[in-house]
């Protein structure tokens, strides 16, 4: 029986002199889950996270974290939360150890703890613990922010675009770290622009755009939906209907019969393409050009919005 750790109910936000950044959002995340919020720039991801963490005041709605209302019972709720912000905001003149200890204390825990050492070691920061933050590289600074967020042993960790501006190696490390944290019992909510990242990291994915949470699905179900590719064959002779000989494939005619379109599952063992091409040759259907492409995030949004409408 999944136990909800985060409940967002009817939350909306309109910034003063600004747009409606968030429509009415309802969302439940269970304990131990890795949840990805997937959406383009300006979708409202940061706004939603900021409301949960107490940085932005919602225009309406309620948020409950670990059973505590984030406004009425804000202390208990916030003790359960760790936040790694999107922007690299650090105290440049502090040492790594000092700034992480500061975070732990700020959240109401004693600064003397072996836990801090463990976190710094996990993030490969222990050797750098006496370095000033200003002397670290950007990727290292992001790790420091993660260490700060973990310092008070939160139950739920928010990572706002953890891999923005991070190289491939560090990105891999980050993904490993997220999975390790989950093994230790943490719940993780992250935002990303990239389908691949949501796919790599998450158990469930919420797709958000224009302040609306369009859908929330198990990753596998979503990937089945999203992981489609499309192949377009530009025909020499336009067709009016699809020949019966090709009825094994879900084909459509586009562009007034000039294009034969085949949508297939990129992940499937057998895409059916070789057989399709063979059959076309047998039927003497000639084509001038062949193009395949992956559905982009934009396509998916268009599809999803279309489905809803």
């Amino acid at each position: 029986m999944p136990e909800p750790i985060l409940t967002v109910a009817g939350v909306s936000k309109t910034y003063k002199n600004g747009p409606t950044a968030l429509g009415t959002v309802d969302l439940t995340v269970n304990r131990g889950e890795i949840f990805a919020l997937l959406g383009p720039n300006g979708a409202g991801k940061t706004t939603l996270i900021s409301i949960i963490c107490g940085i932005v005041t919602p225009s309406a709605g309620t948020v409950t974290v670990a059973g505590h209302d984030v406004t009425r019972d804000y202390k208990a709720a916030r003790r359960a939360i760790g936040l790694v912000p999107q922007e690299l905001a650090t105290d440049q003149f502090e040492s790594v150890l000092a700034t992480v200890t500061f975070s732990r204390r700020l959240f109401g825990r004693s600064g003397h703890s072996d836990y801090i050492e463990q976190v710094l070691r996990d993030l490969s920061l222990w050797e750098k613990r006496h370095s000033k933050i200003k002397d670290l590289s950007g990727g290292m600074k992001r790790r420091v922010l993660i260490a700060k967020a973990l310092a008070h042993e939160p139950q739920i960790l928010f990572l706002d675009e953890p891999t923005a501006g991070v190289d491939v190696a560090l990105r891999r490390d980050m993904w490993k770290l997220v999975h390790r944290l989950r093994e230790q019992g943490a719940t993780i909510i992250l935002t990303t622009h990239y389908i691949e990242e949501a796919e790599e990291m998450a158990d469930r994915v919420g797709v958000i755009t224009g302040g609306k949470l369009l859908l929330v699905e198990e990753k596998n179900a979503l990937m089945a939906k999203l992981g489609k590719r499309q192949m377009d064959l530009t025909l020499v002779e336009p067709m009016t209907a699809i020949p019966a000989a090709l009825s094994d494939w879900p084909l459509t005619l586009e562009d007034e019969g000039h294009t034969l379109r085949y949508i297939f599952d990129a992940k499937a063992e057998d895409t059916g393409i070789p057989r399709l091409l063979e059959r076309l040759a047998q039927q003497h259907i000639a084509f001038r050009d062949l193009e395949t492409r992956k559905s982009s995030l934009e396509d998916i949004f268009v599809d999803l919005v279309g489905e809803r409408a």
Partner: protein, 253 residues
């Protein structure tokens, strides 16, 4: 009560002061010395004392407050302005800290630093004049109250400010003139009318006179009135801080 949280902010602020400790301490010593050379030795020798107090001793409380005002405002305002400026405020806003706890950390640290500087000025003054404080305990309490009030005021200023120049403009255009005009270096009794009456509308005059009373047991206006005005100012600043946090003004969108 999140004592660890208050302690974290307090330590952080004290560490910031620690990085500039020598300039922080040398500045008041040099300034005080200059004031004593100018007002104490050069001009002071021409001035008769006030009610039997030598002019050099008379200006010590005003001199201390002049520095205290600007130090308390500067340190508390910078303390909260910097996180706003660098973006690290996110952590403060998402921490399990009540407004009072946050303020205790910042204002406590700023007040501590001001108290230390006040004591440095006090000690420096001893090099130049004979000083006997009539009510030492009251003097310390009064100093603490004034320091805390101005730190609260500075805290509001730091939240309000949208740029570094705004941080400096209020102390420069409001607090320093009011301090000079509030009798930091003269007795209100030497002022001709209507200036004496006008000065009685300057709240800083009461702060200075109240503090001077703790030194010499006498002042231009009644000590009770001075304490009342000082407490009133402290209450006003506290109310402002509480309101700011309650509404999230300039802190949360």
């Amino acid at each position: 009560m999140n004592l660890h949280g208050i302690w974290a902010i307090y330590r952080f602020e004290m560490a910031r002061f620690g990085r500039t400790i020598w300039t922080s301490l040398a500045t008041p010593v040099i300034t005080t010395t200059l004031y004593f050379i100018v007002f104490g030795a050069a001009i002071g020798s021409q001035m008769r004392g006030v009610d039997g107090i030598s002019y050099g001793a008379f200006i010590v409380p005003g001199l201390m407050l002049l520095t205290i005002f600007s130090e308390s405002i500067f340190n508390a305002s910078l303390g909260i302005y910097m996180p706003k400026f660098t973006g690290t405020i996110y952590e403060l806003l998402s921490a399990p800290l009540s407004p009072i706890e946050t303020v205790l950390g910042y204002v406590g640290a700023a007040a501590t630093k001001s108290m230390v500087i006040a004591m440095v000025i006090f000690a420096t003054a001893h090099l130049f004049v004979d000083l006997h404080v009539a009510h030492p305990l009251l003097m310390l309490l009064y100093l603490l109250l004034v320091t805390a009030s101005f730190a609260l005021f500075g805290f509001c200023l730091g939240i309000w400010a949208n740029g570094f120049e705004q941080l400096q403009i209020i102390p420069l255009l409001v607090v320093t003139p009011l301090t000079f005009l509030g009798g930091a270096f003269y007795s209100l009794d030497v002022l001709p009318e209507p200036w004496r009456t006008v000065t009685l509308f300057n709240p800083v005059a009461y702060l200075i006179n109240g503090f001077r009373w703790t030194f010499f047991g006498q002042s231009d206006v009644s000590f009770a009135l001075c304490v009342a005005v000082t407490l009133g100012f402290a209450a006003l600043c506290l109310a402002a801080v509480v309101t700011i946090f309650r509404t999230g003004w300039r802190l949360k969108s």
